[in-house]
């Protein structure tokens, strides 16, 4: 019982940490982008201010908005919180981790996405359905690539549970795994596509015709919008955390050694900051491509992931 309480507490601590840190992560990425583009930037805490403002406003709903439109932001947020509790960020002793492995994690993201697409179609505007079909298109092409990315560490560790993967990868002797490097490249490409970043989508765009993610949420306002924005930030953070867990898992706590948690938290913040900087650099040096280049982009991601898997089988590395 005590064991369960411990793992439950560690779970709670990690989930709450990720959910609360997520806007900061988004703020950091935006700030880095601003610096790279010679702007001064709004400051790290801007996402929190935006969320606070949005929560205060009155929600505006279109006349024909149905229950799906109102439920979708909550479901999206719930899915992302769930995803945040599956991915180990500080330690691997998670009460919830047996309930879902990496495939279920893909399922959680899919659930959130389907609801956001349905909600976008609910009001029945031209942009909403345009966004919905683009979002579903990009997602359906990135999912196979994502699965192949997971496949390489899964082959090395022989487990599809993220906690076991982290445990095993963090404790082996240091070795160069070219297969993991390939998987990492593929993962970054999928991350860019799934989180609506440049070059697949532009999170800061103001031109409706090029939108994907923004087109989905055009009709949302106030607390609904706040929840969606927050969920987006959590999603980005969770994706970075998955990348860290798969490709740089060092520094996490084994079991529930509470004294080690601050150190693990420090390592996490540093790793997330590095990931954010990398993301900002990638976004600054690349240009958004047109939507029908996206299949080729994701096809390349798929290819990298498959190559990683093949190299793992060919070379055992």
């Amino acid at each position: 019982m005590a064991e369960f309480v411990e793992s439950f507490l560690s779970q709670l601590a990690q989930t709450v940490l990720v959910v609360l840190l997520a806007p900061l992560m988004l703020g950091w990425v935006n700030q880095c982008r601003a610096w790279l583009q010679n702007r001064s930037g709004p400051g790290l805490l801007q996402p929190y201010r935006v969320l606070h403002k949005l929560f205060h406003k009155d929600a505006l709903l279109a006349h024909n908005a149905s229950v799906i439109f109102r439920a979708a932001p909550y479901i999206q947020f719930g899915c992302m919180v769930l995803a945040a509790s599956i991915v180990p960020v500080l330690g691997t002793n998670l009460a919830f981790s047996p309930a879902a492995d990496v495939i279920a994690l893909v399922g959680v993201f899919a659930l959130a996405r389907v609801f956001s697409s349905l909600a976008a179609m609910d009001v029945g505007t031209a942009f909403g359905s345009l966004g919905a079909r683009r979002e579903m298109l990009v997602a359906s092409l990135s999912e196979p690539a994502l699965l192949m990315v997971f496949f390489t560490p899964l082959l090395i560790v022989q487990s599809s549970s993220l906690s076991s993967i982290v445990d095993a990868l963090a404790h082996r002797d240091f070795a160069i795994y070219p297969s993991l490097a390939f998987a990492a490249v593929a993962f970054i490409m999928v991350l860019l596509a799934e989180n609506a970043r440049i070059p697949v989508d532009n999170p800061a765009t103001h031109l409706e015709l090029t939108m994907i993610h923004e087109a989905l949420i055009l009709e949302y306002s106030a607390r609904h919008l706040a929840l969606i924005e927050w969920a987006t930030a959590v999603k980005l953070t969770v994706y970075c955390a998955i990348g860290i867990a798969l490709f740089a898992p060092w520094g996490m706590v084994e079991g529930t050694n509470w004294l080690m948690f601050p150190a693990a938290a420090g390592a996490l913040v540093i790793k997330l900051a590095l990931a954010g900087t990398g993301l900002a650099v990638l976004e600054t040096v690349s240009a958004k491509m047109r939507i029908f280049r996206a299949p080729e982009f994701l096809g390349m991601a798929f290819l990298f992931a498959v190559l990683g898997m093949l190299i793992r089988q060919l070379l055992g590395a």
């Binding site: 929560f55 009155d58 929600a59 505006l60 709903l61 279109a62 006349h63 024909n64 149905s66 799906i68 479901i75 719930g78 919180v81 769930l82 919830f96 047996p98 309930a99 879902a100 492995d101 495939i103 279920a104 399922g107 899919a110 659930l111 389907v114 697409s117 349905l118 179609m121 609910d122 009001v123 029945g124 505007t125 031209a126 942009f127 909403g128 345009l130 919905a132 079909r133 683009r134 579903m136 298109l137 997602a139 092409l141 999912e143 196979p144 699965l147 192949m148 496949f151 899964l154 487990s159 599809s160 549970s161 009709e219 929840l227 029908f292 798929f302 498959v306 898997m309 093949l310 089988q313």
Partner: protein
């Protein structure tokens, strides 16, 4: 429980006769819609309920045999209930209850055939499918198989005044019979020259590799024709839209599964030795079918055609699962073979639930709007909340989203794919995981298709003004919809229980049961290989999401507020937007059409720059129709024309033919 006293096999035979009696009772007052839909169809529900109970009992007990004193002299009917048959009987029961509920509220006076006749055909169809599952000799199997084909043909063509429906029915009958011939030949091979057509005798025979392969190929062809496997799928998208919706539901949900049952029966039960390339064949065909089905589903504009193509996709997934099972079984990986077989059977159950549900939904939509084209629907969630909510469950389930049932089978199958390395064949070792990607692509695209299906029908604005008058379903149809959606949820959140039942099937067929791992994790989690490798707990999952959603809701209300105002849609400040500016069904499918263009045969008519009344039309067709079917049809016609030379219409010539034949035979024989 009532039936506990009666053995399950007798119980099922009882249900079959009960359904036949109900069907015949329909002829008592064939024109009375009230009698048929308020008395006979509800009575039929009972049969389905009993079937479920009998199946639950039968799946856990030893195989039982029975010889019925029916049929030809010296050729009695043999029937047998083993766990494999019991699973499919249970599936039939679940679907039959839901569809009978729905049918009780569905049939209206406008259809072609009189209601009494429909009732007879419907219940005969149900009884024939049950007998197919029970048959233990080739005669009874073929009799039941043909009865099933013919009753379903009459049901498809019940509205036979419409020429398109007649031609769809003809295509269906044609392919069903080409398939039936292959099945007949398959049994001929299986009896191995002994002349004993009982399945018990066939199990004793060890066929050589060549004849075994021939039997497998014939079974895959024959049953594949019924299931809609590539390239024999063409009848599905024609027959489903033609049939009344409950019949489509029954055909897609259950009848396709009898074909899957046939493949499993022949491959794992009647054939004693399998070869690895059968598995590869089934895997490749299955994945191609799945991808083909989902791509075509994405570009359809008729809601029932869309679902028909989605059925093709699901059948592809199931056949791929069978192929994987064969591969693992041949390469002595009983663990993974059992896992993929469980996944396959699970997907059969799931598909029976959600596809029947969605076909019933299209029936409701069709009735209340008289529209089948997606381009003329929209916004129905406001008028038909019951239908819309059950449709939402069905769509999410079919899209393979957790925590519903579609995800469970997908998850299990992916586990089998992902832990495949270890097969003794290095080529397969590397290609099987890549095949998993094809499966994921199909699953992801099916989410695309379902967003299109649900979004275009139920969400957005009314695309036609008349839709505002659409009304929700009555209590009978609601009960049917709720029944099947409840099963979608149940199968989704209680997989451990279901898997333990399915273990009874895998144990005799592939000599392994994955349930032993479940003991360690309890009923909350499923861990098909071991808890360290992977586990999934749908109930925790559901609780997690619901808990977070409720907590978020209350926190938002507690710390902020719940104020809201209703305003006109914003749409980026565009004031003149109307319902016609939403995506049409074609528009929603357009990206798929563009990316996978080589797979489609697309014909576009573009307006010229100076057209006064510009029109645009685009049709998307199946390339296989032109590559395969039309050449075969042409060849057939040429042969027929050639034989037609013999036809002169003069009696004495025909007599001359008979005379020459007789003479020839006499000379040849004596």
């Amino acid at each position: 429980m009532l039936p506990a006293a009666v053995p399950p096999l007798e119980l099922i035979v009882g249900v079959v006769s009960y359904w036949m009696v109900i069907g015949l009772a329909g002829l008592l007052r064939p024109l009375s819609l009230y009698f048929v839909s308020r008395v006979l169809f509800p009575l039929g529900i009972l049969g389905g309920m009993v079937l479920i109970l009998a199946a639950l009992q039968g799946v856990a007990s030893q195989p039982a045999d029975l010889v019925l004193p029916l049929g030809l002299p010296d050729l009695p009917f043999h029937i047998r209930l083993d766990p494999l048959a019991a699973v499919f009987v249970g599936l039939l029961g679940i679907a039959a209850v839901g569809i009978s509920f729905f049918s009780a509220g569905y049939f209206r006076r406008v259809q072609g055939s009189p209601p009494g006749l429909l009732c007879l055909q419907y219940h005969l169809f149900l009884a024939a499918m049950t007998v197919v599952l029970l048959a233990d000799d080739a005669y009874l199997f073929m009799v039941a198989w043909e009865t099933m084909a013919i009753t379903s043909y009459f049901l498809v063509t019940s509205n036979h005044k419409v020429p398109e429906i007649r031609s769809a029915g003809f295509l269906y009958l044609l392919i069903a019979h080409v398939g039936a011939i292959a099945i007949l030949l398959c049994f001929g091979v299986l009896q191995g020259g002994q002349g004993n057509y009982t399945f018990a005798a066939m199990r004793q025979i060890e066929l050589s590799a060549f004849w075994g392969s021939a039997a497998f190929a014939l079974a895959l062809f024959g049953f594949g024709a019924k299931a809609g496997l590539l390239p024999l799928h063409v009848w599905l998208p024609e027959a489903h839209p033609a049939a009344p919706s409950p019949i489509s539901a029954l055909m897609s949900g259950v009848m396709l599964k009898t074909a899957i049952y046939g493949i499993l029966r022949v491959t794992f039960d009647l054939l004693q030795v399998q070869l690895w390339w059968w598995g590869v064949l089934a895997l490749v065909l299955g994945l191609l079918t799945a991808l083909f089905g989902v791509m075509f589903a994405a570009v359809q504009t008729d809601m029932k055609r869309l679902l028909a193509y989605s059925s093709i996709e699901n059948i592809g997934v199931i056949v791929a699962g069978i192929g994987l099972t064969i591969i693992f079984h041949v390469y002595q990986q009983p663990h993974l073979a059992a896992l993929s077989l469980v996944a396959t059977l699970y997907h059969c159950l799931n598909h029976a639930c959600f596809k029947s549900l969605l076909f019933m939904v299209t029936g409701s939509v069709l009735h209340s709007t008289h529209q089948r084209s997606l381009g003329k629907l929209g916004g129905l969630i406001r008028n038909m909340p019951w239908v819309a909510m059950t449709a939402l469950i069905g769509s999410l389930a079919i899209a393979g989203l957790p925590p519903l049932n579609g995800f469970v089978s997908e998850w299990l199958l992916l586990q089998a794919f992902l832990f495949s390395p270890g097969i003794a064949n290095p080529y397969l070792n590397m290609l099987v995981p890549v095949a998993a990607a094809a499966l994921v692509l199909a699953a992801a695209l099916s989410a695309y298709v379902m967003v299109k299906f649900y979004g275009v029908i139920f969400l957005g604005q009314y695309r036609e003004p008349s839709l505002a008058e659409a009304r929700d379903e009555g209590p009978w149809a609601r009960a049917g919809l709720v029944w099947l959606s409840a099963w979608c949820v149940l199968l989704g959140i209680l997989p451990a229980t279901v898997i333990r039942l399915l273990d009874n099937v895998t144990q005799p067929l592939v000599d392994f049961a994955i349930g032993s791992n479940l003991e360690r994790t309890g009923w909350l989690l499923i861990a098909p290989i071991s808890p360290e490798r992977s586990s999934y707990g749908p109930l925790l999952f559901l609780l997690g999401i619901t808990g977070t959603v409720l907590l978020t809701y209350f926190l938002v209300r507690r710390f902020y507020h719940g104020r809201e105002r209703r305003v006109a849609a914003w749409d980026c400040g565009f004031p003149a937007q109307n319902a016609r500016m939403q995506d049409t069904a074609e528009g929603f499918g357009q990206p798929i059409k563009q990316i996978f263009e080589p797979f489609f045969r697309i014909r576009r008519q573009m307006p010229g720059p100076f057209d006064a009344r510009p029109t645009y039309s685009a049709t998307t067709e199946d390339r296989l129709w032109y590559w395969l079917y039309l050449p075969v049809a042409r060849l057939n016609e040429r042969l027929a024309a050639w034989i037609g030379i013999l036809q002169h219409g003069r009696i004495y010539l025909y007599l001359l033919y008979s005379f020459v034949t007789l003479l020839g035979l006499l000379m040849f024989m004596l």
